[in-house]
């Protein structure tokens, strides 16, 4: 461990590699986390099948890749298909549990996650798959490996994030979603069809996850049972950033990506994920302390 730290001090160039890899993948985490923040904030549903939506998007890209289509073209397809799938899932399951207590929706989405994993396993088999972009890999600054696909997905992730933000700010549906998030009852009184808003929000989340999945399949590998790790990441990011805090989600997403890379480098690759959950614990402890202090001030 100390030896690994020594490498980073002796050859600072490798910090650049870790930062770069962390930021490019962190941007994709932020995307999926933003979808979760939406659903959580607007509908108060903690969507445990978030990661499965991501993996489904990945498999859409993989499927198109096996048919000879460049996986980048899967992006619009995944967005549309996953939006429709989100709508279907909302009507079938989520709309029935949205008014129930926390545990009902947790159990329902957890069950959904299992069903989706097994369905993907039945359709695509259990082996890991990748969608190859065929784009160039280069070495810059002597020792830093840069993949064009990572840079491109960073750009795409940013564009998607901007598009969602603009949509939420300016469109009628976006305004309705924000109104519902603030006060669902008041929104209803004002004539907003909240059920429609919920359905749209959930579908939008699925579409965002699908897009994230397409990008993930081109820079990492996917497998039917890998959804859970993406769900955990999304939860950590949202908890750390706080609901409805978009800049927070982006910073937390990028930060998590980088932290994972450093964790993996210093402690070994099997600690990459541990870093995520470790950070969640740290964040929760800090939030608890801050809240306790806040309570004292209020008292």
């Amino acid at each position: 461990m100390l030896f690994n730290l020594q490498i980073l001090i002796d050859a600072p160039i490798f910090n650049v590699q870790l930062l770069l890899n962390g930021v490019t993948v962190g941007a994709i985490f932020a995307l999926a986390a933003y979808g979760l923040a939406l659903v959580w904030g607007v509908m108060n549903v903690k969507n445990l099948c978030q990661g499965e939506f991501v993996i489904m998007g990945g498999y859409i890209a993989y499927y198109m890749y096996t048919k000879g289509i460049h996986p980048m073209f899967a992006l619009p397809v995944a967005i549309v298909l996953m939006f429709m799938f989100g709508w279907f899932v909302y009507r079938l399951v989520i709309s029935k549990v949205i008014d129930r207590d926390l545990f009902t929706s947790l159990l329902a989405t957890f069950g959904l996650a299992i069903v989706l994993q097994q369905a993907l396993n039945l359709i695509f088999g259990p082996e890991v798959v990748t969608a190859e972009s065929g784009m160039a890999n280069r070495i810059i600054l002597g020792d830093v490996a840069v993949q064009d696909i990572r840079v491109l997905s960073l750009v795409v992730a940013c564009l998607l994030a901007v598009a969602v933000v603009v949509f939420m700010k300016n469109s009628r549906m976006g305004q309705a979603i924000r109104a519902t998030a603030q006060d669902a009852r008041a929104a209803k009184v004002m004539g907003i069809d909240t059920d429609q808003v919920y359905a749209f929000t959930y579908s939008l989340n699925a579409a965002i996850c699908g897009a994230a999945g397409v990008l993930i399949s081109m820079i990492w590998v996917i497998q039917p049972f890998y959804g859970i790790t993406h769900s955990i990441r999304a939860f950590v990011i949202v908890v750390a950033a706080g609901l409805g805090n978009l800049p927070g989600v982006i910073v937390a997403g990028l930060g998590l990506g980088v932290a994972e890379q450093y964790g993996g480098f210093v402690l070994g690759t099997d600690f990459q994920q541990v870093t995520v959950t470790g950070l969640l614990v740290v964040v929760l402890v800090i939030l608890q302390i801050l809240m306790a202090r806040h309570r004292q001030v209020v008292e």
Partner: protein, 419 residues
């Protein structure tokens, strides 16, 4: 009175029928090991779930050997000719289910001769059951060293154990170092192994060989079960520039490593990865995988040959003709066939269907097959067949080590992907 009497007889009749049914059932169970002229083997195998791909390969291997043996006159015991048949249950790739099904095969179906499941994990779950009932099991898909340190008396494996998987790569590195006028002890090794029993066994084998040559381990990373990114390990590899990189993490480890080695243009001169074939890295990543070394239990190009299938190449041809959709015959299928051959050979040498006599005959096996030599150590593992190392050369796998079986010279140093 009359009514009472009739009641009694009815009850009596029911009881008799019950006893008769029970007798039928138990009688059936006791004879299930041999039905008429058919010897019944049993196996819990992964036909669904995460191991289903390889589970089906194994089942195909079992079936091909059964078909072949039956076509060649079956198994001759005590002057009588028997056919072979295998009863399968799907263990859904879960150890708990596998153990239940083994119990069912033995207790309910009366199976007295077992074939193994797929994977070390499932074998580990099933071996205690077959051991408990003293039912011999010849397995072909559980390579973990730890299966053969428990003192099992009824477990036999035709494949090479896991610690041999990458040890040959270390020996090869030592040979290359000597050829280039360097000392083997100058060789620096980077290791990345999944944190599961199988891969850790592979690691132990590498460690043993590295110690033998006094080589230095410069990276020793563990990979997570849900591995999707190992760029941090590879960044370290770029930083410390080892002479050898060895990776083992099942199919996902092979796929992740092959992809990221190319993406990051890692220039380690020797790279050896397990499960290249299962992960299909050549068809996935093409020429970027050239010069990667892949250990294998068996290859169709090897010069092994035996009575039932002819040479390794003959087996390859027959398998492809029998089962559609195979471009390469996976070694998982070949070793499954070999396990059935062990049963046939043992039945005939024991000249008996008594499970304990057959068990002793299995223990004394010493045969040559298309899959290689088979001879069991007292612990039950096969000591007559080495692992071979193949290198991806021009997108095909050629045997390069051990030198006795090598068909091509090894390419060294490895060509850097994309350069």
């Amino acid at each position: 009175m009359a009514i009472d009497f009739s009641k009694h007889t009815r009850r009596g009749a029911l009881a008799v029928m019950g006893v008769a049914a029970a007798a039928l059932l138990t009688g059936h169970a006791a004879q299930a090991k041999v039905e008429g002229d058919t010897i019944i083997l049993g196996s819990a195998i992964s036909l669904t779930g995460k191991y289903s791909t390889n589970g089906i390969h194994a089942q195909n291997g079992y079936e091909l050997a059964v078909k072949r043996i039956n076509e060649m006159g079956g198994v001759k015991v005590d002057g009588k000719s028997y056919k072979l048949k295998v009863v399968y249950y799907d263990d859904e790739s879960t150890p708990a289910r596998g153990a239940q099904l083994a119990e069912r095969l033995i207790k309910q179906d009366g199976v007295q001769y077992m074939l193994g499941p797929y994977s070390s994990g499932l074998t580990k779950a099933i071996a205690p059951i077959s051991e408990k009932y003293k039912i011999p099991m010849v397995e072909a898909e559980g390579a973990s060293r730890s299966l053969f340190t428990q003192g099992y008396k009824y477990l036999f494996a035709v494949l090479s154990t896991s610690e041999q998987y990458l040890a040959s790569a270390i020996t090869l590195a030592a040979e290359i170092a000597e050829k280039n006028g360097k000392k083997p002890s100058d060789v620096r090794i980077a290791m990345a192994f999944e944190n599961d029993p199988f891969s850790q066994d592979v690691r132990a084998g590498v460690m043993d060989d590295a110690k033998k040559y006094n080589m230095q381990i410069v990276i020793d990373d563990k990979l997570p079960r849900d591995l999707s990114d190992m760029s941090t390990t590879l960044t370290k590899v770029r930083a410390v520039k080892p002479d050898v990189l060895v990776v083992s993490g099942h199919s996902k480890g092979a796929a992740t490593a092959a992809r990221q080695l190319a993406e990051m243009k890692i220039d380690t001169p020797i790279v050896a990865i397990t499960h290249c074939e299962a992960a299909k890295i050549i068809s996935k990543f093409g020429a970027t995988t050239n010069d990667i070394l892949c250990p294998t239990q068996w290859a169709e190009t090897l010069s092994y040959s035996g009575k039932y299938f002819g040479s390794a190449a003959d087996y390859d041809k027959l398998f492809k003709a029998t089962y559609e959709g195979y471009k390469n015959v996976p070694y998982q299928a070949a070793q499954a066939s070999a396990a059935v051959l062990v049963w046939k050979d043992a039945f005939e040498r024991a000249n008996s269907l008594d499970k304990d006599k057959v068990r002793d005959a299995i223990a004394a096996t010493d045969m040559m097959t298309f899959y290689g030599g088979i001879k069991f150590a007292p612990e039950g593992n096969n000591i007559a067949k080495p692992m071979v190392l193949r290198q991806i050369q021009n997108e095909t796998l050629n045997v390069v080590a051990p030198s006795k079986y090598a068909s091509h010279p090894v390419n060294w140093p490895r060509q850097v992907p994309g350069s």
